[in-house]
């Protein structure tokens, strides 16, 4: 009986039903998009706070005024082994995390243009963990893939999200990696908006600060270990570049750790391996705080936008719903005359609205998935809000219906 009545009602008020349906579908797509964006921004901010709050950041870099000592160092026979050992000792610590981030372009072989440059970040596993970098498809690097020898011909590569259509997982392409010809094997695609925090390069005496580096248009390669003894000039150059990159880390420590502790360790190891000098620069937290504020501002603006949009949609849909229900009132009076109760009539009314809402949600879901296949998920928050809005929109007609007598209902006097 209920289904029969709902079908009849939708048939009778085709235009109104279609209007409500279209309005709901459009509102659902837009509101869901806004709510999903706010939710992911909020998540992003939480991740940001979790990752960067109450931490100290240091940047370790060669002392550019110690150039002569550096040249002398690399003339020594065992310089590479000492450099590698210094790196290993630096990296091993319970007091801090050692993040290797090398913005080093790779080249990719193109049939038309020869080798072309492409943005690349070479990173270690600590960096991927610290910045909570995840793949949308495929996988991240394994521990084994972080080490190569001079006979290795293939290196794994992860694509930034915007490069996902360029190669498929499993594709292998030729290129150069730190000036060495290699094959790159695609093993994964990063999630959209994957990012890491970089410190900017500054003039002497300036404080370095943070900025977000988004990886959507970059290739990501491992900043590998290569401990083989180099046999020729090219291999020596490759190893030197790699390890010098690795010795420019960002160091993340607890707020109780200080630059003095780090300086002490570096000096001890420099003396041990007779190495050239490094500087330790503590990175200012001011820009980090600024980034948090900007992020909070964006969430606030989006929330205000969502509330206005929702309010407008509820009033607009509620209005159309009210007119439609008002037009149905004389019909409801007929049902009352032939034996229906008001409760039954209200059940028809609410069920019909819920049916239209459900169908429009299903449509919106598929349209959302078609328009934004990956970025936007269909939000449970929006479904709950819309159900509340649906019930809210029915409240005034239900109230009026309950308080009218048969006479006024027959005349369709819900407006009075």
């Amino acid at each position: 009986m209920i289904i029969h009545e709902i079908v009849k009602s939708i048939e009778k008020f085709k235009i109104f039903s279609a209007f409500i349906f279209i309005q709901l579908v459009v509102t659902s797509i837009v509101c869901n998009l806004v709510i999903d964006t706010i939710t992911s921004m909020k998540k992003d901010q939480d991740r940001f706070n979790q990752a960067y709050s109450q931490k100290k950041y240091f940047w370790m870099v060669e002392n550019i005024y110690d150039n002569e000592k550096e040249k002398l160092f690399f003339k020594s026979e065992d310089s590479y082994q000492r450099l590698i050992n210094f790196y290993k000792d630096m990296k091993t610590s319970d007091d801090y995390r050692y993040l290797e981030i090398a913005p080093q372009q790779i080249t990719i072989k193109s049939e038309q243009e020869g080798f072309v440059y492409a943005n690349n970040y070479s990173v270690d596993l600590n960096c991927l963990n610290e910045f909570q970098i995840k793949v949308y498809e495929g996988r991240l690097f394994t521990e084994e893939e972080m080490t190569i020898d001079f006979s290795s011909k293939t290196i794994p590569v992860i694509l930034g999200y915007n490069l996902r259509d360029r190669y498929m997982i499993g594709d292998v392409f030729e290129g150069t990696y730190f000036l060495r010809k290699m094959n790159f094997e695609v093993i994964g695609i990063l999630e959209k908006n994957s990012r890491l925090i970089r410190n900017n390069i500054v003039e002497a005496g300036e404080d370095p600060s943070f900025y977000f580096e988004y990886l959507d248009n970059s290739f990501i390669t491992p900043l590998v270990n290569c401990e083989d003894t180099p046999k020729d000039k090219n291999e020596r150059l490759f190893q030197r570049i790699i390890y010098q990159m690795k010795l420019n880390p960002t160091i993340v420590a607890s707020e109780y750790y200080n630059a003095g502790n780090l300086r002490e360790k570096i000096d001890r190891l420099i003396a041990k391996y007779d190495l050239y000098d490094f500087e330790v620069i503590q990175i200012s937290n001011n820009t980090l705080n600024l980034l948090k504020l900007v992020s909070q501002d964006s969430i606030d603006i989006m929330t205000i936008f969502a509330v206005i949009l929702l309010g407008f949609s509820i009033i607009s849909i509620g209005g159309v719903l009210y007119v439609k229900l008002s037009k149905k009132i004389p019909d409801y009076a007929v049902h009352l005359i032939v034996g229906a109760t008001k409760r039954r009539i209200i059940t028809y009314l609410v069920t019909e609205m819920i049916a239209i809402f459900l169908i429009s949600h299903i449509f919106s879901f598929f349209i959302t998935k078609k328009l934004f296949p990956v970025q936007v998920s269909y939000s449970l928050t929006w479904i709950i809000i819309s159900v509340i809005a649906c019930i809210g929109a029915c409240i005034i007609p239900i109230y009026k219906l309950t308080n009218q007598n048969i006479d006024s209902l027959l005349k369709g006097d819900l407006y009075v």
Partner: protein, 222 residues
């Protein structure tokens, strides 16, 4: 025995300060098989009285008996009562214009939970009784006023109610059609149905067995 008995019924409309006392201490008994007319001027309370008799509107005070059993003044019981015992015909027919004659007449049977097959049999039988069987698949918008009224009557009697209440059933009809409709009521009454008709037309009222007059919500003459 009274089929319906009302005792000291009071009914109000509106809100302070514009309250209308539509029925004032109305006491009335209607016997089984009566053919009764309720008359009065516009605003005298005759339609309200009919709606009270049909359980279509609540009362503010008084008692309502059906076959000596007092009915509670609640919506659920009244709707059951309407569905089982009352056939109601309102002014302007109150038909659903998006449904066929058949579907309109079928509606009370749906609420009564009758099976589809029985509904079909019953509706066709009733439509034949009011001379509308050939127009079963038409929509009310395609019918004349008299035909619409016959559909309204068919819908009112399809559940085989004991009591038929009609509010100005011939008000919008020509003389010829009026005769046809009154003839249907007379036949229903002959079959033992209690028929109550609200009218302001003496000619119609004179065809009935008893007339009561209402003035300002009070019965002034029986």
């Amino acid at each position: 025995m009274y089929k319906i008995r009302l005792e000291s019924i009071n009914k109000f409309y509106g809100k302070e300060p514009n309250i209308v006392h539509a029925l004032k201490d109305v006491t009335l008994g209607i016997r089984e098989g009566e053919f009764l007319a309720i008359m009065g001027r516009s605003g005298s309370g005759k339609s309200t009285l009919l709606k009270v008799l049909g359980g279509l509107t609540g009362i503010h005070s008084g008692r309502y008996y059906y076959e000596n059993i007092e009915l509670k003044n609640n919506e659920r019981q009244m709707s059951l009562y309407r569905n089982r015992h009352i056939g109601f015909i309102v002014q302007n027919y109150a038909l659903l214009f998006d449904r066929t004659v058949f579907e309109n007449v079928e509606l009370p049977l749906r609420y009564a939970g009758i099976s589809k097959r029985k509904r079909e049999e019953k509706v066709l039988e009733i439509l034949e009784q009011v001379g509308m069987e050939e127009l079963a698949e038409r929509f009310p918008g395609e019918l004349s006023g008299g035909e619409c009224q016959r559909v309204a009557i068919a819908r009112a009697i399809v559940n085989n109610p004991d009591i038929i209440l009609a509010d100005e059933p011939t008000g919008a009809l020509d003389e010829e059609t009026e005769k046809v409709i009154m003839n249907i009521f007379a036949k229903l009454n002959e079959k033992g149905k209690t028929v109550v008709i609200v009218t302001h037309d003496y000619h119609i009222a004179s065809q009935l067995n008893r007339i009561i007059y209402l003035k300002n919500g009070e019965i002034v003459e029986r």
